[in-house]
Symmetry: C2
Subunit: 162 residues, 2 copies
């Protein structure tokens, strides 16, 4: 037995997930990723949006769907290509800030322009301007909600055994 609410949740999530897969698949096929993989672009993009003095690995990791070790090595590769730099964090000798270099920023902009055009072509006239606004609003709220949740939960049983 599944409650109607749980069902609506599962349905909405599946639709969202499948839509994401379809769009990513389409965007991936575009000739925009010769210099940067999507994940690499994601990192540069996130950095380009963040504060001028960069972001810590931990912070980057909340936006990029990659394990901490994988992200660490992805950043290694970007450093090797001169697109980002690792710098020290004031007051915390463990941490690392990741900062865009001029080359990195330029590349992000170059790829970003083409990527945006690609997105525009992919979404086309599927949704009206109002619908796009609604979609943005709903997904933003969904993200904020989930991000505010206490990490992991035991979902084996719906009811706690008292």
């Amino acid at each position: 037995m599944m409650s109607a609410h749980a069902m609506a949740h599962a349905t909405a999530w599946e639709s969202l997930f499948r839509a994401q897969v379809a769009v990513v698949r389409h965007l991936a096929a575009d000739d925009v990723w010769e210099e940067l993989t999507m994940k690499e672009y994601d990192v540069l993009f996130t950095l380009s949006r963040g504060p001028a003095d960069g972001l810590r690995l931990k912070e980057l990791n909340t936006d990029v769907l990659l394990s901490q070790p994988s992200l660490s090595r992805l950043v290694d590769r970007l450093v090797a290509r001169g697109l980002v730099e690792r710098r020290a964090v004031a007051d915390d000798l463990r941490g690392t800030r990741v900062v865009l270099t001029d080359d990195g920023r330029a590349l992000q902009r170059r790829v970003g322009r083409r990527h945006v055009a690609s997105i525009d072509a992919a979404l086309g006239s599927a949704l009206s301007a109002d619908e796009l606004t609604t979609l943005t609003d709903l997904t933003d709220r969904l993200r904020n909600h989930v991000a505010s949740l206490p990490a992991a939960a035991r979902t084996t049983s719906t009811k706690e055994p008292s």
Copy 2:
């Protein structure tokens, strides 16, 4: 220069993408993936929804975000575990149908139940029933639109040279 429409597209896509990342991250942390990775579950789930005589690899591949070779090997592993079988396709000796075994179906259901509970817990009260319906509708339409597109496009220039 970017048109307002292209901007709305890019914004909506980013929100959708980030929401997906946040939810996947949350769901991945749940103790539901001991027996099956998310991608393996995705394959079993897709099969459980499809026709009784299974799906071809090509068809599976449209739903699962994985390259054809990777999917082929993922299916290898599922076969090795006795969760699916490969069968011949009538009228096409190249093809392979992938069919759920009883064990595979049972496992999908078992994991699926817990996964649905996990989704329910994750989405919580973020959106109202109406909003969930709206989100489902918008993402469904988005997916159908993108799926109907002619594969890859050159997006370097916005205007076709006549």
